[in-house]
Symmetry: C2
Subunit: 377 residues, 2 copies
């Protein structure tokens, strides 16, 4: 017998009560009984996003919400600053190019984050930039970007700040209104504890004004249309009803725990993972690691693709490997969303078993001992 | 106590075994155990679509798949023929305009269907047209279009035939390859018996060639990218895993029943609804009614918005009202997807009760008697 554990940076595990809510009989999305659900999830999302502004709900993956955000507030020819420090940062640039924007792509080393100072310099050099697009947690490298510091700079400029928080919202502190972030994007299958299929974006007053003027080619993802429909607690096209019923339940759990406690929990669990790894001589890849996912450098002489394979196939624990240029060079362990201290300890125990099988030399038990000590702090 | 019955043309009722499949623990979409699921649903979809060609799966509503199809095989400036005989036919024209295509919009009276002869004439007048976009069942009016006849004409031209079968696929005969239809589009929340959140499109060889050349602005919905990923049984962005697990179960049920039997069942149930309505003096709105949904003209002196309200709030039976210019003028009853003869009889019984409450004069029981007789044929 195996119990399956999903320690990946999305999709993440779904609480049984959320899965049960998803399996409820379908309500017609235009029936009056769906309206209170839409009102309630809107309130819950605004709490989670820490915003008083509308949060748009899309039936799509997180990438769809990135497209909706960027095409929703820009017009062809607009200059936008995009930061390429990993697979997801690159995506901003690709979307911008696709829709005829003029992206200033800023490449930074994979594993490092852009600083507020660098953003200030970029805005000084490009005072006509209409948007700055960054990635809160670059899931491919685990790096966390200083959104608060960057927002303090960008909010004083004419550019809007678009933050891809697909993997981080709920796991890392992000105070949308207080920090002055114009658009925060996230997906359902991360800290929100839902299956994939929904994406969300918050829209500041500045961004709402821009949405009314945007001229990018956009139909399904037309931001202004979602904003107009949201005023009537509805969506322009059929919403993913069962996922929204599940969202209602997940947001109830999130409000009960409170975002502050959830941020704390993510910090505690990922610190335990980091401590456990370091104690058996493994190096954390990222220079500014997030609490979303811990990327671990594969040690010399070990086959990096075999670690996740053994964990998954022999032990029932799914973690992530490296993506693109990091394939085989890192493994990534996440305690994201529906995860407790014992998911973290199981992760470290399983990692010790797998590394031992692969012939990696370390003191068995040192990892889990360090993880436990970290959790007892 | 009320049992809720959903007799709308989407979302439709979800079988309990499909809902249970949806609530299963999440599998990571890049894990090897997801590959056989993707292979199996691809086979099942090809059977349902009656095609040997790839069927793309999107996390979006049906509208997203329409955008994916049209932008996937056209380039800005391309002439396309779109038929506006209802709310959904209009949508083709709007999408075409949004992405810089040159739509020749053909308005026809709401409640009527375009004929193969008219399509032939349009193609003769527009030999440079790159695509003909039609609606199999125009859900807003219940009208069925002769796709087979139109495909026989279009397949001899240089234009591709794009068929919005969002509400009809599985409910009405549609033989994609045999008839020569290039792209068939559908959604999950209709005859496929799933919650909303997935959309599908089949892509003929001609259309695949065109997809490689398309120059429309498209990122999330980039058709060529979905086709490329499908070869590896995957998707470019995170798929809606729980809905795909549910799809796997629903397609198993569909294959067991067979499409021919499912088409027959839809015909039998909607004929019973039609017979029941006629027997109490109600008129069917559509000139060529489909088996997807039966639109019924609201009789003189009766408040058309009150009929669905009484059915839903007092009797637990949700039907649809009229949309846009038909608001208050028609009601629409569907026995689509997971529906049996006793859902049809319940629908007619409930309709008799509601019409009686509203003071409509008719012989009580005449409707259900006619419906029963129709079902006994």
């Amino acid at each position: 017998m195996q119990k399956r554990l999903l320690l990946t940076p999305g999709p993440t595990m779904v609480p049984p009560e959320v899965a049960a809510a998803e399996a409820q009989p379908i309500i017609h999305h235009r029936a009056p009984e769906f309206t209170p659900v839409m009102k309630r999830v809107q309130e819950g999302l605004r709490y989670l996003f820490q915003t008083k502004n509308p949060v748009v709900i899309l039936a799509s993956s997180g990438t769809g919400a990135m497209e909706c955000a960027l095409t929703g507030v820009c017009s062809p020819g607009d200059k936008v600053i995009t930061v390429e420090g990993g697979k997801f940062g690159e995506r901003w640039g690709k979307i911008a190019k696709t829709f005829g924007l003029n992206p200033v792509n800023v490449p930074i080393e994979w594993g490092s984050a852009i600083t507020p100072e660098k953003v200030k310099q970029l805005l000084d050099e490009n005072p006509d930039a209409k948007a700055v697009c960054i990635t809160h947690c670059e899931t491919s490298t685990g790096v966390l970007t200083d959104v608060k510091g960057i927002a303090a700079i960008v909010s004083k400029s004419n550019a809007l700040l678009l933050v891809d928080a697909v993997s981080s919202l709920g796991a890392e502190e992000l105070r949308t209104d207080e920090w002055g972030v114009d658009m925060v994007i996230t997906g359902s299958q991360k800290a929100i504890m839902l299956p994939p299929g929904l994406a969300f974006l918050s829209v500041s007053e500045r961004a709402q004004k821009r949405a009314a003027e945007s001229k990018c080619a956009s139909f399904y993802f037309k931001l202004s249309s979602y904003l107009k429909n949201l005023e009537k607690d509805t969506t322009p096209y059929t919403p993913a009803v069962s996922l929204i019923m599940a969202l209602d339940k997940a947001l109830e759990m999130i409000r009960k725990e409170t975002v502050e406690k959830i941020w704390e929990r993510h910090a505690r669990l990922s610190s335990a993972i980091q401590a456990g790894c370091r104690a058996i001589g493994l190096e954390i890849f990222s220079q500014s690691p997030s609490h979303v996912v811990t990327p671990i450098r594969v040690p010399e002489g070990i086959d990096g693709e075999k670690i996740p394979k053994i964990l998954r196939d022999e032990l029932g624990v799914t973690i992530a490997g490296g993506q693109d240029q990091l394939k085989g060079k890192v493994i990534r362990i996440a305690t994201l969303g529906y995860a407790t201290e014992f998911d973290a300890t199981t992760g470290i125990c399983a990692l010790e078993i797998a590394m031992n099988k692969l012939g990696y030399k370390f003191q068995v038990g040192a990892g889990i001992q360090a993880a436990l000590k970290e959790l007892m702090k």
